[in-house]
Amino acid sequence: MSTTPAAAQPVGLEGKLKRANVFFELPVSLRSRLIAVVAALLLIPSFLFPLYELTLYSNQFPDGLNLYIYSYSLAGGHPQGRDDLREINTLNHYIGMRPLLESDFSEFKWIPLVVGLFFILALRAAVVGKMANLVDLSVMFLYFGLFSLWSFYHRLNEYGHNLDPMAAVKVPPFTPPLFGEKQLANFTVYSYPGVASFLLIAFFLLLALAVWMSRKPRVAQ
């Protein structure tokens, strides 16, 4: 019932898909390509910084025990030779929590691989210059990000719930905070994303920006 002369322009779902096809086939601008390159480059320093930082404060540890989760490893703070990871594990054994062991985290193997893949795909998108690549990348990355977050939450939950029933100190199962502050026994625990997480977020935002900036078909010169 369209009154427009655009009989060539299909309507309804088909029309939307068609328009999507056109959109995905759009070439991206040079500016968007450059943004994709910058986004890719941001992934490199993400290996230098932790994805997540947990700090546990108590009266005995006014400077806090630090736990750093990198994309490829688990590390404790080392103020004045102290080993915070060892200390956290020592304290946790009283409530029957399993020690945090790097070898128990398969994430440390696949996350660096996946980040590397995103690096390559971002460069690919910049070179090929098709909107479809940029969108694929953004969606996959969003999924990766949300999955990792869920996985991290699941880990925390698992550690806090699978407590040894023989433990000296019985505590109700708990989930350490994913974001923010939580009181656990005599410790105030702060959990926040680290610099690497912000780099990954920036990666995603830059991709979205690249998509946004090339969203309209360019007028041929």
Binding site: Q80, G81, R82, D83, R86, E87, T90, Y94, A168
Partner: protein, 639 residues
């Protein structure tokens, strides 16, 4: 006789001076009573108060005298922070109970720790090591300031007897000094009747070499000296670098009641050793070997040692920061003498001698001294500040005199409580003293603290020396008995707080409770054990009576202050292990029965539960041992 009357006149004159001064200054001012309420108290409180959580500005290392320890305090709070065990077993840190420290102590269970000396670079404290001598058993020890632990005890040093004039260091810690206070026939364990004291008994002064990298000490050389009693020393620096000085009393070579017999001459000596020449003499083969040590006889090596006459029965000899003046204090007179190193060297060159003692030239007193400073009664020991002032302790007078180097003018005096021995100013024996603080190390303290009965502590008084007038600002008390101390800027020390796993080189260290194990070969049982909050692993040990048991115990913690102890009842063992440390405990399980072992150093909420049993099966084998189990570990009747 003439000498005697001169001394009497001198002492009389001194006493009279003191009396006149007392009258002039008013009775109260001479007695170190309380601070005047109000301004003085507030000022002192502010100057010494270190608020909770705040840190002191200086470390103070006191010697513990015949307690054999070194005490560590903070200045200006004067709070005692820790005790470093050196010459005495100290269960508090498990010192003397594990294999290493027990072997270091050897056959001795006490020592007389006298003069701590911080290692120096270019005449200033470098914060690496603290050395301390043992006056009783002729040893010197090195404390590593990385972890505040005694790491080496050298000695008994051959030939040295009563190592009192020690452990002063040369400006780059090339050497630390050693000397005999009690001359004996040499080598040690040789015999000669006391009647032959003047000829057959020998004094010794010498040097212990310090490895510049590791701090490892070894006896370098010694010099054979007349049988005087070598008392205190100091190494030259700056203008006097290359020289070492020791005071001595009993130039009379007397025996018997030394209080009388050794105080007859008007003057004793300061022995001045040119240690560079001593090195040369040893190199050119002029030394002989006595009891394994290169010993120089001054007769064979002229130019190594000279004697400087000093007012009688001197105690301290202290070199000024620039090295120009050598300050000798005769404790029975009211003057301290400032010798000039240029004049000393000049007298050596021009052979301006007045005689000799066993071939050692005696320099002419008048030719080498710059001044006799009228400091007061019983001068003992001198320290320096950053403004060109010297501070001399006055034992008899119970006071400190402040006087100016060069003008020799006494500008201030402060009474102390009571009978001051040594004193220590902030880095006050280095090339660059800091001024600001001085601690009087007093021998008597009665009435200054809550009474604790007849065994009184010593008193250490903090004095502010930053102004024109010295101001007493704090009284602190220590266990017996500080003889000297060193005060070093806290920022110069960077101690570790845990032994890092990577730095633990003990081949028997283990880091996981899963690696704990018991290995037997013959009657030797070796156990690798862990200690971590709140358990030992293994938590029980079964051995046979007569077994040689060795426990390699590692504290696998890596957290500051998580210290564990291992106390084994009835076997007289208490070892303490710091985080990351491994210690070896070895003993023969000669008593059958069941013996608890437990953590002695409070560690955690479940510290009480940190315990285990050593089960020693009696000789007689399985039957007896099953009886042990049958009675549930109560092996009282199984013997």
């Amino acid at each position: 006789m003439r000498n005697k009357s001169r001394i009497q006149i001198l002492i009389g004159a001194g006493l009279l001076t003191a009396l006149v001064l007392t009258l002039m200054l008013g009775g109260c001012a001479r007695r170190p009573k309380r601070l005047a309420q109000g301004g003085d108290v507030t000022e002192a409180a502010v100057a010494t108060y270190v608020a909770p959580g705040d840190l002191d500005e200086y470390y103070l290392f006191y010697s513990g005298g015949h307690s054999g320890n070194v005490y560590v305090a903070g200045v200006p709070s004067m709070r005692h922070i820790t005790t470093i065990a050196v010459f005495t077993p100290y269960p508090g840190t498990g010192y003397g109970f594990d294999k290493t420290s027990r072997e270091m102590l050897g056959r001795f269970t006490w020592g007389d720790a006298h003069h701590p000396a911080l290692s120096e670079t270019k005449g200033d404290y470098d914060g690496r090591w603290l050395f301390i001598n043992d006056n009783a058993n002729n040893r010197v020890a090195r404390i590593d300031l990385r972890d505040f632990k005694t790491r080496q005890i050298l000695g008994p040093i051959p030939n040295v007897s009563g190592n009192h004039g020690s452990s002063f260091v040369t400006p780059n810690t090339e050497y630390l000094l050693i000397a005999s206070r009690f001359s004996i026939p040499l080598p040690r364990y040789a015999y000669a009747p006391i009647e032959q004291y003047a000829t057959a008994y020998k004094g010794v002064v010498g040097a212990v070499a310090v490895d510049p990298k590791t701090g490892q000490m070894s006896v370098a050389w010694e010099i054979l000296m007349p049988p005087f009693d070598y008392d205190l020393g100091d190494a030259g620096k700056g203008a006097s670098d290359g020289w070492a000085f020791w005071t001595c009393y009993n130039a009379e070579r007397a025996t018997g009641k030394l209080e009388v017999t050794s105080t007859q001459r008007d003057r004793d000596y300061i022995a001045a050793v040119n240690w560079k020449n001593a090195e040369q003499a040893v190199k050119s083969g002029k030394a002989k070997t006595i009891d394994g040590v290169k010993v120089i006889d001054p007769k064979d090596a002229p130019g190594v040692v000279y004697l400087m006459p000093c007012s009688k029965s001197p105690h301290g000899v202290d070199v000024s920061p620039d090295g120009k003046y050598i300050i000798g204090s005769g404790k029975l007179q009211s003057i301290t003498t400032a010798f000039n190193i240029e004049k000393i060297q000049n007298a050596v060159q021009t052979k301006n001698f007045t005689g000799d003692e066993d071939g050692i030239p005696v320099l002419k007193y008048e030719a080498i001294k710059d001044a006799e400073v009228n400091v007061g009664l019983g001068p003992l020991h001198t320290q320096f500040d950053d403004q060109g002032y010297a501070y001399t302790s006055l034992f008899v007078e119970s006071a400190i005199a402040k006087w100016k180097l060069g003008t020799w003018e006494v500008v201030d005096k402060i009474p102390v409580a009571y009978n001051i021995g040594h004193l220590t100013a902030a880095e006050g024996d280095t090339a660059h003293p800091k001024g600001k603080y001085l601690v009087a190390l007093n021998k008597l303290s009665h009435g200054r603290h809550l009474s604790v009965g007849p065994s009184q502590p010593e008193s250490s008084q903090l004095i502010n020396i930053s102004g024109e007038k010295m101001k007493l600002i704090y009284d602190a008390f220590t266990e017996p008995e500080p003889h000297y101390a060193q005060m070093i800027l806290a920022s110069k020390l960077k101690p570790i707080e845990v032994y890092a796993k990577e730095d633990n080189k003990d081949p028997n260290a283990i880091w996981d409770v899963k690696d704990a194990k018991v290995e037997r070969s013959g009657n030797s049982v070796k156990i690798k054990m862990t200690a971590v909050r709140s358990s030992f692993e293994p938590n029980h040990l079964e051995v046979n009576q007569g077994d040689h048991v060795t426990i390699y115990l590692t504290n696998i913690e890596q957290t500051t202050d998580e210290i564990h102890g291992f106390g084994l009842a009835d076997y007289n063992i208490n070892v303490v292990i710091d985080p990351g440390e491994t210690k070896t405990i070895d003993f023969v399980a000669d008593k059958p029965g069941v013996f608890p072992y437990y953590c002695t150093n409070f560690c955690s909420a479940l510290h009480q539960e940190m315990q285990g049993y050593l089960l020693v099966k009696p000789k007689g084998g399985a039957v007896a041992s099953s009886r042990v189990h049958a009675v549930g570990g109560s092996a009282g009747g199984s013997r």
